[in-house]
């Protein structure tokens, strides 16, 4: 178990250690603070997101996970601190990042294929080209045959697949997912988690994944950053490595999986009344 769980109180020393341990970061969050009026949502938060891996932001609700994700997306300005994507400072939304929304954020008046192609449409890609790209990702997320359906004709899980396909089709290097499976029933959610694992394996993108489910975080993540309530900072970084190569079906029975779930629960328990 030693060496899997790296306790990381945020100090300058550990920051240095961490950057040298994982030199290739797709996204770096440097000393970011965010205040909403007098509410301190994030305070001096620093975190590295290794390229090609899935990092979860895990924490109780209200601890600032969405805030951090939107700051990385460029949708919110930090009060202080900076974000770097591939070494360049983030000043707003950009084509290197794509967002998957908790409530899907689909156009209700547009068909599935137009929704999936919408990111490309906004970038001025010609209709035939963007639709052929969209068709590929519609197939990848398992929605073939629904190209001309409308969002209200789909289940919650299928709508989120549309949101995922839209984010994938713009081919951004960084995917930002804000509790994408929270509005989806449990069975669909498990299928999604398995699909997410294979996406991480095959897509060669950096995934930043917000969740409040400990099991979900341990199941899908290469790295888990545990955020503590306001003003939020990273209290621990955990890298579940031992079972990553295993078959998706056996992960939930893996002793290391169960140990990490217990350990995270032990450290979060005190913040839940």
């Amino acid at each position: 178990m030693k060496g899997i769980i790296v306790a990381m109180p945020q100090t300058e020393a550990t920051m240095k250690k961490q950057t040298s341990a994982a030199p290739d970061s797709a996204v770096s969050v440097r000393n970011v603070s965010k205040n909403y009026g007098t509410v301190e949502a994030l305070k001096n938060l620093s975190l590295e997101f290794p390229r090609g891996q899935l990092t979860s932001l895990l924490g109780p609700s209200g601890c600032g996970k969405t805030t951090l994700l939107k700051i990385i997306a460029g949708l919110l300005q930090p009060t202080s601190g900076r974000i770097e994507v591939n070494g360049a400072e983030v000043e707003g939304p950009g084509p290197d990042r794509a967002f998957v929304f908790q409530d899907f954020a689909l156009l209700p008046w547009a068909s599935v294929i137009r929704n999936v192609a919408f990111g490309l449409e906004l970038r001025g890609v010609a209709k035939s080209e963007r639709e052929s790209i969209a068709e590929r990702y519609i197939r990848d997320v398992g929605l073939t045959g629904f190209e001309h359906s409308y969002p209200h004709e789909l289940s919650g899980g299928m709508r989120q697949r549309v949101g995922l396909a839209r984010a994938l089709s713009v081919d951004a290097q960084v995917l930002l997912l804000d509790e994408p499976f929270s509005a989806v029933d449990e069975q669909t959610r498990r299928k999604f988690q398995e699909d997410l694992l294979s996406l991480v394996k095959h897509e060669n993108k950096t995934f930043i994944f917000v969740t409040h489910s400990i099991e979900e975080a341990v199941y899908v993540s290469d790295q888990i950053a545990i955020l503590l309530p306001r003003p939020s900072r990273v209290s621990e970084i955990i890298r579940p490595t031992g079972f990553r190569h295993k078959d998706v079906d056996s992960i939930r029975r893996d002793p290391e999986y169960l140990d990490i779930v217990d350990q995270i629960w032990a450290s979060l328990r005190s913040y839940v009344e």
Partner: protein
Amino acid sequence: MTVFGYRLPAMSSLLVWGLLWEIIGRLGLTFFIPPLSEVIGTLFEIIGTPAFLKALSETSYAFFSGVTISIVVGIPVGILMGKSRLLDELLLPWVNIFLSAPLTALVPVLMVLFGFGMTSIIITTTLFAIWIIILNARAGVMQINRSLVEMGRSFGASPLDAFFKIYLWAALPEILGGVRIGIIRAVKGVIIGQLLISIVGFGALFELYSSNFLMSHFWAVLIVLFALAFSISELLAYLERRVAYYAAKR
């Protein structure tokens, strides 16, 4: 409604009222109410006359000009107000004042400013229609799902794209609701404008008929106008229901 087990078609109660009108007319209680059959006869008589067609075309012209101006100006102004705090603070009090103002009282002022003609009538029509269109477009934009706005931003929508591909459509049910009420108000506006200015369109016709005590002509024209206004409103309600189908699902 069913009577003695028979299903009556919609609006069959109109027959009862029509019959009542006919009876009162036949009784000859007042010259002001001729029998309905006479009115309908007159209606078919005058409906093809040059005077009627001229009035109809002048009225349509004023009506469609006023409605077009109201829509083309009102919707963008409403959307901008919904998007910009500054513009909203600046314009909202005026929109609210004009929405509830007794616009009829303004018509004489408009006549002084714009003369006794078509221009004044078009402006009157616009003033009746535009405020509710602005207010509804504004309300429509303000209720747009925040994550839809963020979706547009995160995928790099230009302001123009965001306007035409997201805001306009997301606010469409409210916008159409506003346009429907606006058009109904425009019908009032165009008639009131004509009656007060009374040298063009149906205003002139009304003036002619009532000063010559041609009551069945008067009623015939009135029925035509009511029927037109009602059809326009029903057509718009139908379109609105089609759009609301998507709106309910958003």
